[in-house]
Symmetry: C2
DNA sequence: CTGAAAGCGCTTACAG
DNA sequence: CTGAAAGCGCTTACAG
């Protein structure tokens, strides 16, 4: 793709190079019809576009548009931003010329003068293998971006090893004015990020938080309903002893599940129940499984807080000679393709994570615009019965 | 966190508010020792930091530093950027003052005047469930960011439904000067993105490309060695008929694996071999498995192009009453936690994806700096033997 | 080694 | 509805 030159445009339009150059760089002293002809030729050849995109040559700016249409930069800016205060004819003329010249806003110039970066940030503090094996995050991201891309807002993304590193990233991004707001995940019990965000005053949406305040909005769903469906499902099958292989209790949603699990088991007539905390890993999932299966009130059903532990537990149970689901029922919290691909397929609690991501992004944009924090409750998870749950052995 | 005011600083430093204000806003007419005292107090209280981070109040700029130390903005800029052309003493004084005032660069201002956004872009055109189930991408991202974060370079991330949408994003980001360069994945046979990037002139690193040129660098690894290890492993176990459940052949690395597979099977004495193309999905993985197991020269070993298909194939085979690995050996290409968690665990081809990501990012930064495209070859995948491979039934 | 000034490309009061 | 100008916070020649 050779670069399109003024000479090319001149030839295409059938005018002199001097005339073409005049139109392309300013537009004074050339008749309207000739101006139009040159601009059409430029558009056809992709002259402006190439210029603006290639990095070589001069970038098309609002000054170029202004002189092409014979109006001020201020008017051009108004028209381009859809603001009131400019006549319909001039607006149309400006828009058309901008299109023809291939003008595109310079994000840094806008950010500098408007104090808005049109970017939001997402930082994930989990180890890479957890991130890579949990479908949650990619779905969340897909939901977020479905909303952002409509508004030409961009997402900065980073993974970090710890929550401290996460906060350091927020400080950097915010103080360098890289972002207008933040999306947070994995709320902890007494999460240090919350006061940190409030202190810095960063507009944020915290997934899992129950109530927005200050500059932080909340988007969440209840854990209890999914737990209740699970316990009911197992009780109705006849189970009276249930073990739970839990994620880290420092996560607020895990702690909440744990409380709901204990309360509901007790209320719904489960005679024995027990939770074992793990770090979410395959190894600890297998270990907790071994431990629970060796208990005096050996559980006939096991519930896991993520899919990789459920799979590891399945493997562990099968290795000890158990048949699933005849000898032991298994439920995974957070459905994934792997729950379907395993043998037997795993009964799991499923949520619409993509919708959750969309809501989180929508809330963030609202917050950035309005400055007022909000609280949104999303639908809870629901159980999807598959082949890994059945009545307990008699 | 209440905002730190000039009055607070004055109290802390034991000077009048007028004096504190003078120092904090300019520094003229105040003795060096008093100036120092006030700046120390400000630093202790986090005055500058709060100012620069909170968004309220005036941001600390290089002009503030300049008047505080009594030098020009240009000198301050030089010092802050580590450029030559300023005396050691003044450099030190500027750096110290900047630190005390909590100055942070404004990314947009820098981007506008330096024509560098200090951001790179990554767009993934795969459906969300594939992305969420393949550990590849998160590992790649972790590797990329390990390099970027050292240089305070930020990553824009987006998922899109198609390769056309992907190119549209590149056009947007580049023409708005959002990014300095791009990282590309999933090279296609005759990939349209390559000429597109070259046309736009975007500095890019294309993973999988065999040779850099123009503004595009290449980072790749050979597929053949991993294929060879796999075929050798199976042959040495005694297998003479191998089936392959392949990913989409439009991907260059899949096409290459396919060619290597046919060539190596033939060279290494495998009597029957066959590849079936799929879309990477669980469903088609299961379907291809059924098909291959029904062939006249029924394969005794099956090789899969991703982990989810391998798992689906394992399930399918077990459902038809086969024991793995006694009746059928299975190998997954691209190892993951799920290959370890399955029962039996899956023999798989593993690569150091994180290192690959680091190299890709390093190459991109080099390219952005130098303008010269490069080509880097990374180590190929190696087979990791687990429980899913054994001699064929006799 | 240092200063004064122009410029990056926008937005936004301020006048008319 | 429109124009002229200042300003956002830096970098970068250009002089000395």
């Amino acid at each position: 793709m050779a670069r399109v030159t003024v000479a090319d445009v001149a030839d295409e339009a059938g005018v002199s190079r001097v005339t073409a150059s005049k139109v392309l760089r300013g537009g004074e002293g050339v008749s309207p019809s000739t101006t139009q002809r040159v601009l059409d030729a430029a558009a056809a050849l992709g002259y402006g576009r190439e210029q603006s995109a290639s990095g070589e040559g001069k970038r098309v700016t609002i000054a170029d548009i202004a002189s092409a249409v014979g109006l001020s930069k201020g008017s051009v800016s108004f028209a381009l931003n859809g603001q009131a205060g400019i006549s319909p004819e001039n607006r149309e003329k400006i828009l058309e010329t901008a299109r023809q010249l291939g003008w595109r806003p310079h994000s840094a110039a806008r950010a500098l003068s408007s104090s808005q970066s049109k970017a939001i940030g997402l930082v994930l503090a989990r180890d890479v293998d957890t991130l890579g094996s949990e479908p949650y995050f990619m779905r969340l991201i897909a939901g977020i971006e479905a909303v952002l891309s409509k508004e030409s807002i961009v997402m900065l993304f980073q993974t970090v090893p710890s929550i401290e590193a996460e906060m350091a990233v927020y400080d950097d991004w915010w103080s360098e004015r890289r972002i207008d707001g933040l999306l947070l995940n994995d709320l902890r019990v007494d999460d240090p990020r919350l006061p940190y965000l409030q202190g810095l005053g960063i507009p944020s949406v915290f997934a899992g938080l129950r109530e927005g305040s200050g500059t932080v909005s909340a988007v969440f769903h209840e854990e209890a309903p999914g737990v209740e469906e699970t316990v009911l499902h197992l009780r109705d099958l006849g189970h009276r002893s249930i073990g739970r292989v839990a994620g880290p209790a420092e996560f607020a949603h895990i702690a909440e599940r744990g409380q709901a699990f204990a309360r509901l088991c007790s209320e719904l007539g489960i005679e024995h129940y027990e939770s074992i905390e793990t770090d979410y890993s395959m190894e600890q999932g297998a270990e907790a499984t071994r431990y629970l299966l060796a208990r005096p009130e050996r559980p006939t059903a096991l519930v896991y807080d993520n899919d990789i532990m459920a799979l590891a537990g399945l493997r562990e149970a099968q290795a000890t000679g158990l048949s699933i689901p005849q000898d032991l029922s298994i439920v995974a919290w957070d459905d994934s393709l792997f729950c379907q691909a395993s043998s037997p397929s795993l009964t799991a609690v499923a949520r619409d994570i993509r919708a959750f991501g969309e809501q989180a992004a929508t809330s963030l944009l609202d917050l950035i615009r309005s400055g007022a924090p909000d609280t949104v409750r999303e639908p809870p998870g629901r159980i999807v019965a598959r082949d890994s749950t059945a009545p307990p052995p008699s």
